[in-house]
Each structure stands twice: as C-alpha cells, then as structure tokens.
C-alpha cells in the first residue's frame, strides 16, 4: 500500500474535525452581573451567568467565593438558583480590605458537584470606603474543588468555543514548518546533484507551505477579531509571520525572473535554504523578545496547563500529523504535474 500516508493524513484530519467539534467544553461562568457597586461593609448580590451549566436547586451542593488573592477570600452567605444557567450569589463584604489599595478586583469562584468548579476573573471591583486595611473577615478556606466529570475541553473566558481553533489554526503553522523543511532539504539535494527533479520538488513544497502560511494568517485574523478585538493588531508574531510569507513570495518571484531555467533553479535553491533559516528567527525568536498577544511569547505563559489539557492534546497532535501529511500529498500532486510538464518540454526540445 503505497498510498497509506495519504489515507492516514485524511483520516487524521477527519478525526481532528469530528473530535475537535464534538467534544463539549467544561461548564463555565460566562458573565457576572452586579446591580450595585461593591463597597466594604455592605452586602452585594452577584448574578453569575453560566455557559453550558446545569444548575439545580435540589440535587446540587453549590458553594461560592469571592477571591482577592491566594490568601484572602470570602464565602457566600446565600446562593439562589434562578435557572439552569443563572445563579444569584450573595456576599457580605467585610469592613476592611486585605490590601492597602483603594479598590481591589475579586474573582468569583463557583463550585458545583454537578458542573465542576469555575472561575470568573475580575467579577467585581470592591471599593474601600472605610480606609483601613486588615485581613479581618477574610479567609483562605477554599478547598475541595470539584473536577468536572467526563470528556471535555477547558472553558476559558475570552476564548470560549474558539479554543477549538487550536486544532485548525496552529497545525497549519506546524505543518507549514515541516513542509518548508522538506522544501529546503530538496533545494539542498538539487544543489548537490544538479537534478532539476529536486528543484521542482522544492518549489512544489514551498507553494503548499506558503498556502498553509497564508491560511494561517487568515484563520488567525478571524480568531483574533473575536478574541483580541481586531483582525490585525500589529502583534509582533502576526507581523513576523506576514514577513515570513513575503520572504517566501520573493522566492517565487526570484525563481520566475530568470530566462535560463538552470540559473533560476540554482539561485532559487540557494534563496530557499536562506528563507528557511530565517523562519525560526521570525516565528520563534523575535516574538519572544517583545510583548505579544500570542501565548508563549513576550512574557505570556505558553499554551499549557489550563489552556491545553490532555484531552486537547489527543486531538491537537493528530491534527498536526494530519495537516502535514495532507500538505505533503498536495505538494506531491503539484510536483508530478510539474514533472510531466518538464518531460513534455524536453520532448519538444529534442524533436525540434
């Protein structure tokens, strides 16, 4: 079976689309609504709006906290279930804030035996009206958090369902790197053997790699619009990947700008190897040096922990292999077309 890798690539892509869309998110807190301002020494009601939650009055053991930092939190005084997705949580804020700040922001934590625990950051901003700070009334007694049962992906507040884009946007870039690597290797083989077959292979792989890169830019822009707020935020990693694409577009311009095919193949091959060498610089080194919105860059934590759990890895890694194999298949067909074209040209040349 010489086509096994194409079948494997397609199966892995189908698997990543089906599993990536079918597995539900964990239930999470989507919004926290307060009718009044939170001040010290006063009660406050917070309506927590749940996403995919199934809050239930009778059969659930609900607990809630407002957490200022790791040592300071308060437990709720009452929890009322308004509907499956709405909880009204009441707190009595102590007379003092644990820090000297005028205002502190507190995260709302809800623990439910049925839905697992969920955190909504900066649910309320508590204003200190008394003016003193002490830890009296605040505890650190948050314990026995319930883990959500069953197969699920993490719920993240801004990402929500778009966390699934990890299986479609990121593998495009991983696949692009591998395909460009194959392209550079073929350019090296061309320089060594002077066999134009390798030059055609290199150009085919570079075409598919560029397509993957442009798709990566487009999918990233769509994702960014609804999480970061704009299609293009001039984020350093966005800019650098756009430059990387321009570097590869220049490769095609260069390859097509010589009359003599032998010369264009040689210069193209040298350029292609240099282009590949700039890629890690543009995509991995420079974005780490300054601030970036991308995870794992500029002081941001990398994708991991809460963002990438083991359930996601079980879809993410197959997706990378699937996209890469599919890209290799595309490049393979393109190369064979070019090879046939070359043979026809040679035939016409010899018969003339």
């Amino acid at each position: 079976m010489k086509h096994w890798w194409k079948i494997l690539g397609v199966l892995l892509m189908i698997y990543s689309i089906v599993a990536g869309l079918a597995i539900p998110l964990k239930p999470g807190i989507y919004d926290a609504i307060t009718a009044s301002k939170a001040i010290t020494g006063a009660p406050i009601d917070i309506v927590a709006v749940g996403y995919l939650t199934k809050f239930d009055n009778t059969k659930d053991d609900l607990r809630a906290w407002l957490k200022v930092d790791n040592e300071h939190a308060i437990a709720s005084t009452a929890i009322k279930v308004e509907s499956e997705s709405r909880l009204k949580v009441s707190f009595d804020i102590p007379n003092n804030l644990p820090s000297a700040d005028k205002t502190v922001d507190a995260a709302l934590i809800i623990d439910s035996k049925k839905n697992g625990y969920s955190i909504f950051p900066s649910a309320v901003f508590i204003k200190n009206t008394v003016g003193t700070n002490s830890a009296a009334g605040w505890t650190n007694a948050i314990s026995n958090m319930t883990q959500h049962q069953g197969m699920s992906f993490p719920y993240r507040n801004i990402l929500q369902e778009t966390i699934r884009n990890l299986f479609y946007h990121v593998p495009l870039w991983f696949g692009m790197m591998i395909i460009f690597l194959i392209s550079a290797i073929n350019s090296g083989r061309f320089l060594k053997t002077k066999n134009s077959k390798f030059d055609h292979k290199a150009a085919s792989y570079a075409s598919v790699g560029t397509l993957f890169g442009i798709l990566g830019l487009v999918t990233g822009a769509i994702w960014a619009k609804h999480t970061w707020g704009a299609y293009w935020s001039w984020d350093i990693k966005q800019n650098m990947s756009a430059i990387a694409m321009l570097v590869y577009l220049a490769y095609f311009v260069l390859r097509n700008s010589f009359e003599e095919s032998e010369q264009s193949a040689r210069i193209g091959a040298v350029y292609n190897i240099f282009a590949f060498v700039t890629l890690p610089m543009l995509l991995f080194v420079i974005p780490r040096l300054t601030d970036s919105l991308h995870p794992g860059n500029g002081g941001n934590p990398g994708f991991g922990g809460e963002d990438l759990d083991n359930n996601m890895r079980m879809v993410f890694y197959p997706a990378i292999i699937g996209f890469t194999l599919f890209g290799a298949w595309m490049a393979n067909i393109l190369y064979r077309l070019k090879a046939v074209q070359q043979r026809l040209l040679d035939k016409a040349f010899h018969s003339a």
Partner: protein, 72 residues
Amino acid sequence: MKETISYIFTFLFLLTQNSLFAQTAHDAFMRSNGKIYVVIGVLISIFIGLVLFMVIMERRLKKLEKELNENG
C-alpha cells in the same frame, strides 16, 4: 504571479482597515453561542484555501492538455 501578489497585498491592507469590516451585527452573530461561529469561519477559510489549490492545479493541467493537443 503578479496578480496573486497584488491580491495578497490588498488583502493584508484590508485586514488592517478594521473599520471596513466593523459591523456590530456581524460581531454579535460571531460571538453568539460561545463564539462557535468563529471556529466555523476558520474551517470555511481553510476549505476555501484548499479549493484555491484545486483551481491552481486545474489551470496547470489545462496548460498541459493544451500543449499535448498542439504538439502531441
């Protein structure tokens, strides 16, 4: 080739002009149901990319067919 590059530049330019795309109704739709339509949008754009590849392949094949018809 020239055309492709100018298309890409125009596209990148349009991406930076967020006001051209800013439609609150569109945003509200994309952000409904836990932003699932963003994932659908990403999948559709990948599909369009694959279709584009098919178009490029067909053009190349057409060129070959023409050559064969003329010289073969």
